[in-house]
Amino acid sequence: MLVSAHSLGYLAQAAGVTVALSLAGIAFGFVIGTLVCVARVSGGPALARLGGAYVSVFRGVPLLVLLLFIYYFLPIVGLDVPALVAAIGGLSLSSGAYQAEILRGALNGVPRGQTEAATALGYSNLDLWRRILLPQALRISIPPMINEFILLIKASSLVSVVGIAEITRVSMNIASMTYRPLEAYVAGGLFYLAINLTLAGLGGLAERRALAGAR
């Protein structure tokens, strides 16, 4: 038997942890990403600069370092963060920077003439965003967003540094115990694949519906 049924249960449990943490990271990351993107595109020079700095820092610092910083360095300066908060916080802060950039790229893909036309037609700024820019940007951004979500699910393996056992960590534990790393990694990989295929499937569905709506 390559990987025992017992180990599969252990892996399935870890997969639950991976999914829960990633979903939280994606959701909070989307809120952060939207805010940062709007700030950069139409928030005036000060906010745009702040948004730019946010992206620069949180995209530039590896997630591993960010997690270690939140969980192990903040307590030294007097701010003790629980492991779960550190894990979700790190994932969200990092993903927010990437999602902001994706939304910004998608906005660039909306033909400029539409903004001019909407302004000429007397659309308010809010209506312009709500009815013209955001819906199109979201549609364009579906494939890169799914890309980013999948990356986040895999990057969530790094939360093992705060002591949370997720798929990668558990695969490695099994590998070291059984001295059969190949089998353990293949098993772990299949769990990731199942999660990500589900996500890609949902993404494909969303993309088709958005396209149908656009016609």
């Binding site: 890309n147 895999k154 772990g188 990989g189």
Partner: protein
């Protein structure tokens, strides 16, 4: 911070950073070419080809680089594929990133307004010309921020190469950490190295983005 320790290991760390950049750049170059080809192939009339490419993308995208690289490097020899650590690292990164790049190109192609393509067809442009002069330029503008994003993501994935003994930054950093038991120094040094790399890449990315947008406006 133990500055003396960092100073002592600085030559090795800088050499490692060079290896990181070399592996990252060659892996991503391979990934961009493969990814573009896969995105074009996804429009092929053959259903079988489309299905194969779909599986290619989903498997490479859906599993972690760590596991792929380990399977390629440690599992390869049992299939007669015996690669050096660096070759396996670059090839692995190329395959892995190609899945992401192909999705970006696919999404960007879809963003090209249908009317433009129809217009190009109606004036009798050849399919290749439509690709080279209409679809690719517009798609590239939409794709450039996510490409830069992915390049940045991939730069950080290179730390995984350390497990198969590619002497990149993480590998050298681990030597320092293991020999001296310095806790935070290695982490902060990593952060500084990577932040520099990412800053440079995003600056170049922004410039390309602006140029591309300007190109599009001037040719519209």
């Amino acid at each position: 911070m133990s500055w003396d320790v960092l100073l002592h290991y600085a030559p090795a760390l800088i050499r490692g950073f060079g290896v990181t950049i070399a592996c990252w750049a060659s892996g991503c170059a391979l990934g961009l070419v493969l990814g573009f080809a896969v995105a074009l192939g996804a429009e092929a009339p053959s259903r079988a080809l489309r299905a194969v490419l779909r599986v290619y993308v989903e498997v490479l995208r859906g599993t972690p680089f760590l596991m792929q690289l380990f399977i390629l490097y440690a599992g390869g020899p049992s299939l007669g594929l015996r690669l050096s650590a660096t070759t396996a690292g670059v090839l692995g990164l190329g395959l892995y990133s190609s899945a992401y790049f192909s999705e970006i190109f696919r999404g960007a192609f879809a963003a090209v307004p249908r009317g433009l393509i129809e217009a190009a067809m109606s004036v009798g442009m050849a399919p290749f010309d439509i690709l080279a002069r209409v679809r690719a330029p517009i798609a590239f503008v939409a794709a450039s921020p996510p490409i830069v994003n992915t390049l940045i993501v991939m730069s950080k994935e290179t730390v995984v190469l350390s497990i198969i003994t590619v002497p990149e930054l993480m590998y050298e950093m681990q030597t320092m950490a293991a020999e001296t038991f310095t806790a935070f120094d290695a982490i902060f040094a990593m952060a500084v190295f990577y932040w520099c790399l990412v800053e440079v890449v995003s600056r170049i990315g922004r410039r390309v983005e602006k140029r591309a947008a300007a190109f599009l406006v001037s040719h519209a």
